[in-house]
Symmetry: C2
Subunit: 326 residues, 2 copies
């Protein structure tokens, strides 16, 4: 299969919405837009972010777009167009590529994202780099990390620690059930595996929350690590309560102690939920607004003047949480 | 070196022009623009597009941006912002990364491109994926591949075949002169090596030509292959004359026969010059305009009604030229 037929195979699953210049030109043409735009790029690399033993090709395609959607969601933007640069080893078959493409196109379609172009290169290691753009709705401003102030309430958009527990379930041999195709796990832990393989970025949540929030970020490196970025950018600290952290039932049954549940929730990466701060005066209206739309919004702590992250009143002694904070 | 310090090292060489949200947020924020935009993405992969034996890290950084600039040039657009996704093996040192960054930032600065964001991932194989955007000047339209009509004149913006000869000079052991650092070659062939390692995309040429052209493309896969794309998109053919193909003196001294000179010029890839078609009635004005600005514009043939590419009246029998055409 040469580069051109690989491109054709990859594109088959996507609905073609030709930009003014049509597909196949040197660059995609986008109509002028009067809106503020946001752009991000993120790569998924085999052996680093996934393995073929634990991910199906459709999962890889889904996740490569999902991690970028989460960044756009964290800015309070509506995703618009994507470019996809594939690096494909020889052993990726046409069928593998179709699955990868179908995983990505289904998620793109669900979020109204147009794939406007891309590139295919040979490589030793499978990787997918997606560039994703979004636009800020009229009258709003992008959510940034720098606006948290003492007294603001800290919220997350969904359960924490699921994806890191899901990875543990997938990679820990004891939990493996089938060897035909990618690993499967005990049914009780399926929700965790789903969170690891095919995260659902909280795009609509971010768009709605952007009316209320003072700062925000997506939880990709782990809650404490990511809230640390907000603290640094805002010049504040935060006090979190473990009792308030939302977690899945499956995590409670998976983790062998309450301490391990908290470790997953506080430091596990790749949950791709959003964490935001909301001024105290707006908190009740924010909660009502989100509840009316059926979006969860879980208060987990408050912003403090003291520039440190505390968990249940204690300065966190764990690893990853503070790596980039101090 | 962790991901964050690698990002910092890479960014040092670039002048920071913080977008409204400042660097370090989940996505870069771009002010609203009333102009039509074009976007493209292209990857440079070690072992496929370059090797460390024949390229310095600064060359790699330069070329990763240059190949994208050439796509933007081919659309008749002015480059604006870039994102860069790096995949770095462990053995890439801080000094290597600084060189890569300095090669890219020098070219970015020469073309007024702002690096607005990016990503660093670990990998086994070094690769650099750049996403580049441009905007179409007010009152103009993007150059596309579909507008060539019988009788239009075919032009290229500069010498052909240099980059493929340069690659041959770099990889052919007989021509190697030094083994300290990347390969060097006979001084007479330096211009060819320069074309291979650090191509100069014809951005200003494309912007000026866009006032006159009916179709255009950049020569990345080889002249015949790329003109083949224009022929297919436009539903036409072309008749080219080898006597009219612009080549460097160095190629004449490098290639062992006139036939090899023509093979490099017709099928050698990576020259990153532009090939365009201009309506016959506009050709004289086009040539005058480009000459006044000091830009070369070399007529190499005409667009024909018959849907085939001919060279000196013969249908081309060589390889790559027709691979994607028929």
């Amino acid at each position: 299969m040469n580069e051109f037929s690989r491109i054709e195979t990859f594109l088959e699953a996507f609905s073609r919405r030709p930009s003014p210049a049509g597909p196949g030109d040197d660059a995609a043409v986008l109509p002028a837009s009067g809106r503020v735009q946001v752009v991000t790029t993120d790569s998924l690399v085999e052996g680093v972010h996934f393995s073929r033993r634990t991910f199906r090709f459709s999962d890889v395609g889904h996740k490569a777009l999902a991690v970028n959607l989460s960044d756009i969601a964290a800015m309070g933007a509506r995703p618009t167009w994507a470019l996809c640069a594939l690096q494909l080893p020889e052993d990726v078959s046409t069928s593998d590529l179709r699955q990868l493409s179908s995983g990505m196109s289904a998620l793109a379609s669900a979020h109204g994202v147009s794939l406007v172009g891309g590139n295919v290169a040979r490589s030793l290691q499978l990787s997918i780099t997606v560039t994703l753009a979004g636009e800020i709705p009229k009258g709003r401003r992008p959510i940034t990390r720098g606006g948290a102030r003492p007294g603001h309430v800290v919220y997350v958009s969904g359960p924490l620690g699921s994806a890191s527990a899901g990875l543990e379930a997938l990679t820990d041999g004891k939990r493996e059930v089938s060897k035909k195709g990618p690993v499967t796990v005990d049914k009780a832990w399926e929700a965790l595996v789903l969170a690891q393989r095919t995260p659902s970025p909280h795009v609509r949540w971010g768009l709605e929350a952007s009316r209320f929030v003072s700062a925000g970020i997506d939880v990709s490196d782990g809650l404490l690590a990511d809230l640390g970025h907000v603290c640094v950018a805002s010049g504040v600290g935060m006090a979190l309560e473990t009792g308030a952290l939302p977690v899945l039932e499956a995590l409670l049954s998976f983790a062998e102690s309450e301490k391990l549940v908290h470790t997953h929730a506080l430091t596990g990466g790749e949950d791709y939920v959003l964490a935001v701060t909301v001024p105290k005066t707006r908190a009740a209206a924010f909660e009502r607004h989100m509840a009316r739309l059926g979006h969860g919004a879980f208060p987990i702590g408050v912003v403090t003047k003291a520039r440190e992250l505390t968990v249940d009143g204690q300065r966190w002694r764990g690893g990853t949480g503070f790596q980039h904070f101090t």
